[in-house]
Amino acid sequence: MDDVLLDVQNLKTHLPLEEGLLKAVDGISFAIRRGETIGLVGESGCGKSMAVRSIMRLAPNFADISGRVIYHPQEGDPVDIVRLDAHGERIRDIRGGEIAMIFQEPMTSFSPLHTIGNQITEAIRVHRTQDRKEARKIAIDLLGRVGMSNPSQRMSEHPHQLSGGMRQRAMIAMALSCEPSLLIADEPTTALDVTVQAQVLQLMRDLQDEFGMSILYITHDLGVIARMVQHVAVMYLGKIVEFTDVDSLFYQAKHPYTSALIKSIPKIGKKSRRRLESIQGAVPVPINRPPGCGFFPRCSVAIPGLCDRVDPPLVQVAPGHAAACYVYPEVAEAANVSELEGQGNGTR
């Protein structure tokens, strides 16, 4: 595992709210290798955004973060980002310089009062060069590379003068300005139209080939996942319930939630007026949630007395394929719940 870039181990982000403890991220582990694209997929409220914000130490101040996020720089010793001072110098070096981020809403992600050029060169001047002219040159070059026409004129324009797609291109240029080793993309195309989404997705693939960075891609859109990533982590209620390569995910999903999700989405080109297989119930709120598997109330294969009592751990159930579900004996074994199961049956 020499080529590991980022190693997330048992990351937890808990938010104490008035209504109770919100376990936004509740013990997730995964690793990203150099040059690899990992997808983090899940519905709203599953904690995927909070997870990446915790990795960048951009979670709210009152959030309680634990676990480890080991970052392995190209040169130098690995650092545990969770242990860093959230406003300190080291994390600021990493942010933007080594790990960059793009966000969902290209409109609100830019300050409307400053020019595009100002906001891009700012990042360059923090991490790469003090020289204004050089920073400007780098920025113009980048704007050209993300496919913006007339880049030097764009530099002096304000965000509201650009269309949504152009803004997202500028955002990507800004994120890539310091040639980060990891790009975190948080739903970067959700707010865009399909044809523009196709442009941006293609652009990101091309740029990855060119720059060779790793990408952590967050989305709720399985179509985007299928197109963009190599490995996928499926999140539900703050936990990763399945982790595998993208082909197995779509063809051999192991977790009931994943397979139900894949079956429930209408697929283009498969016109049929038959009913979709829907998942019953609603996505619960992760506040003061009861013990056991989060998917239990909606699961068609749930084992009462077991699934609603002990959280299933994420365990390898096939080569390179991990799932957190008791239908696999490996999981029950790892959780050491064989006696519990007996108890559960006994009480029924």
Partner: protein
């Protein structure tokens, strides 16, 4: 294509929003949000209306319901009494009386339900407007609630006690309350979680089959539209550029924009990631559209003629309407399986 079971006939509908400028607020131009749109929907049919943001699909839906007044054109609705009425010519009073014939399902399940009313009052509002009161109202609402799969014991609750999917059921029940001839569903599932979308789509489909409903189904998600619609109309910058039976449109599109649109949809299958058609540029500005065919600056098949002549929507194959000069010559690809 004169059919006698037509519920809705839209003829040359236009909605122009004026652009005002200068010292005296003179009108210097128009945003042609809906620009000469014509189509019809038969009883029991689902017509899908797809397009990207700003193409005018929502405005079109609102004009048909006369939530906003169209600039010109006709919207002819067949009522329960088998009369045909041009909605654009009704005065306020007549319009209110006709409201029961057509209803809207909203996109946002949060903003479309008043936080100050109980679910009973929300679902019952169209009935209340018809003068139904008291016990009769309550029993009808109960019936509607169970029809859409809501717990009838929860009708005295407020919307804040319901999840997004349940709220959308409430909105659907409200739309069904007066047994309307036409339901306009404006992106009814796009605000919902992926795992909830299927529930609501299934519900809409079941209701349609059970009650013989007629939908104008507006959405930007082509896979959702394909799933539910009998025929699909594609809009681009205020105009319908292609209209055909769903299967034909998806398998053998005749307009280059439709082709590109279909190709751009990310397929949820890693083994089906063929090269996409990447359109250059972005959707034209409806306030200042290009000359000729609005799509020509982005069209890889465009020729000189496309820059000068605006193509009309014409029937190139039976029931397949396209506005492209070269529809017959082009060999376009649809979604392949």
């Amino acid at each position: 294509m004169e059919r006698d079971d037509v519920i809705l006939r839209v003829k040359s509908l236009k909605k122009y929003f004026p652009i005002e400028k200068g010292l005296l607020r003179r009108t210097v131009g128009h945003v042609k949000a809906v620009d000469d749109v014509s189509f019809e929907i038969s009883k029991g049919e689902v017509l899908g209306l797809v397009g990207e943001s700003g193409c005018g699909k929502t405005t079109l839906g609102r004009c048909i319901l006369r939530a906003i007044d169209p600039t010109s054109g006709q919207v002819i609705l067949r009522t329960h009494e088998d009369d045909t009425v041009d909605i654009t010519r009704l005065d306020k009073k007549q319009l209110r009386a006709l409201r029961k014939e057509m209803q809207l399902v909203f996109q946002d399940p949060f903003s479309s339900l008043s936080p100050r009313m109980t679910v009973l009052d929300i679902i019952g509002e169209p009935l209340w407007a018809q003068g139904v009161r008291g016990k009769a109202l309550e029993s009808q609402v109960k019936e509607l609630a169970s029809l859409v799969g809501l717990n009838t014991g929860h009708l005295n609750r407020y919307p804040n006690a319901f999840s997004g999917g349940q709220r959308q059921r409430i909105g659907i029940a409200r739309a069904l309350a007066t047994n309307p001839n036409l339901i306009v569903a404006d992106e009814p599932v796009s605000a919902l979680d992926v795992s909830i979308q299927a529930q609501i789509l299934n519900l809409l489909q079941d209701l349609q089959e059970k009650l013989g409903l007629t939908y104008l189904f507006i959405a930007h998600d082509l896979s959702v539209v394909e799933h539910i619609a009998d025929r699909v109309a594609v809009m681009y910058v205020g105009k319908i550029i292609e209209l055909a039976e769903t299967e034909k449109l998806y398998l053998t599109p005749q307009h280059p924009y439709t082709e590109a649109l279909l190709s751009a949809v990310p397929k949820p299958d890693p083994r089906l990631q063929e090269a996409q058609i990447i359109l250059s540029g972005e959707v034209a500005n409806p306030a200042d559209p290009p000359s000729g065919c609005y799509f020509h600056p982005r069209c890889k098949y465009a020729e000189d003629r496309c820059k000068q002549e605006t193509p009309a929507l014409r029937e190139v194959l039976p029931g397949h309407y396209v506005s492209c000069h070269f529809a017959e010559e082009l060999e376009l690809e649809g979604v392949s399986l």
